[in-house]
Amino acid sequence: MTYAYLFKYIIIGDTGVGKSCLLLQFTDKRFQPVHDLTIGVEFGARMVNIDGKQIKLQIWDTAGQESFRSITRSYYRGAAGALLVYDITRRETFNHLTSWLEDARQHSSSNMVIMLIGNKSDLESRRDVKREEGEAFAREHGLIFMETSAKTACNVEEAFINTAKEIYRKIQQGLFDVHNEANGIKIGPQQCISTSAGPSTAQRNSGDIESNSGCC
């Protein structure tokens, strides 16, 4: 299927917070109560529609255990969006956010859009981290924030799509160089730049458009 853009995402966070379950809910619309452990990195994809544009999300789901960080770091590079996930029923997963964020910022493009996700919102009775704490953390570090439930699918769709919207907005503002794949964005095959990009991008990157329009 053709698409205007491909955005690369990475899902990070402690082990057992529900990274793979969020991905499974988003790509397959189902929930697996006991998900196999993710070893290294897994991979999923889905098409979404932003502003009438087909956008392909290519999502990298990483292993959460500390040992694997030295491996998963190599995937940060070239991601346009990151979902940083903690478990609202386990405070230590919230406490580790700073270290995850440092890692992400250090190894990714500065424009990467980061969505903070407090997962397992269906387990209200076992809640250990207040919603307000998540919001405050996100505000302080310039992240978007949502609470989700991979089990009930609550906000899962929104989390992935809002991240895409923000990336798309940044493209339109010309903050992303869409021709540099290291930014985690790829223009779809057989896409004409002038129709796929927003007007402001067209202005800023007019030079590139000239050189690329020949292949459309």
């Binding site: 057992g16 196999d36 070893i39 990195v41 991979f43 040992s67 694997f68 491996i71 995937y75």
Partner: protein, 289 residues
């Protein structure tokens, strides 16, 4: 005579039939055997004490083992409702191992390996020693916090492919696919959940016998056999998908033929070559930081 008396005394103490069911021969040297066994018993006791001590101890390792229930959710023997439930056995083996080898502790992936060992040996303590043979001796530094040995071996595979199957290496380079992305699970889980059970067990037999080189033989065989198929890939995602596909089907199910192939298909693979590549890849990784 004194030695004859000792012999008779030992004969009175040592049963005529050994613990394995064999009748002892007429000329069996009871005195020597009794002497050997008194020494050996000390070793067995020491190991038993070590084992029971390993199951106790600090809880820092227990903390990292929160994900045990995610080992083989599709295996009935690992379900909570199973009796006996192998989750508990698995927990003991890994806890003991974490205490035994503190430099490694518990690293995800080891649970799958220990899980298989338990399914096969049906014995906690034996699984522990076999896990130690793999993690502590056979595999070079796969599960330590920086996983340097693992990263090294993934690069070594990349180099071997570059020499033996240059077209595949060129495809990977062209699309910027890192080897770690497509093969990390092969190495970390030693093909558990990647290849069929019988095939994994045959590979492990060779692994215990011949060492970590076998992993490269298996990987190279899989890639070589499906070279044309892999080369059809036209994108990054395609390549990842193809590497999943090549671990399925009759080629890997027919484990006996598969094992014969791993010794012929990849061609010569000397330990000298592996050692040299490991050295250079490790140096490169260390330089990258």
């Amino acid at each position: 005579m004194e030695s004859a008396e000792r012999g008779q005394a030992a004969r009175d103490r040592v049963p005529r039939i050994d613990p394995y069911g064999f009748e002892r021969p007429e000329d069996f040297d009871y005195a020597a055997y009794e002497e050997f066994f008194s020494t050996y018993l000390v070793i067995l006791t020491r190991r038993a004490i070590k084992w029971s001590k390993l199951l106790k101890g600090s809880n820092s390792i227990q903390k990292s083992m929160t994900d045990m229930n995610r080992t083989f959710p599709d295996n009935v023997k690992f379900r909570k409702s199973a009796d006996p439930c192998l989750q508990k056995t698995l927990y003991n083996v890994l806890l003991a191992y974490g205490h035994h080898n503190r430099g490694v502790g518990y690293c995800q992936g080891m649970n799958f390996i220990a899980g298989y060992l338990i399914l096969i040996t049906k014995n906690e303590e034996e699984s522990f020693w076999l896990l130690d043979a793999l993690v502590g001796r056979i595999l070079p530094d796969y599960y330590s916090p920086e996983m340097l040995g693992l990263k090294t071996d993934q690069e070594v595979l990349g180099e071997l492919v570059r020499t033996k199957l240059p077209a595949v290496a060129a495809l990977m380079d062209g699309h910027g696919v890192l080897w770690t992305l497509v093969v990390s699970r092969w190495f970390i889980c030693l093909f558990v959940d990647i290849l069929p059970v019988e095939t994994v067990l045959r590979i492990w037999d060779c692994l215990f016998n011949e060492g970590s080189k076998i992993i490269f033989r298996v990987a190279l065989t899989l890639i070589k056999q499906h070279q044309a198929f892999i080369l059809e890939a036209t994108s990054f995602a395609d390549i990842c998908e193809k590497f999943k596909e090549i671990t399925k089907g009759s080629f890997v199910t027919e484990c006996h033929t598969f094992m014969q192939k791993i010794f012929s298909e990849p061609g010569s693979l000397s330990m000298t070559t592996i050692a040299r590549l490991r050295e250079s890849c490790r140096a490169k990784l260390l330089a990258q930081g």
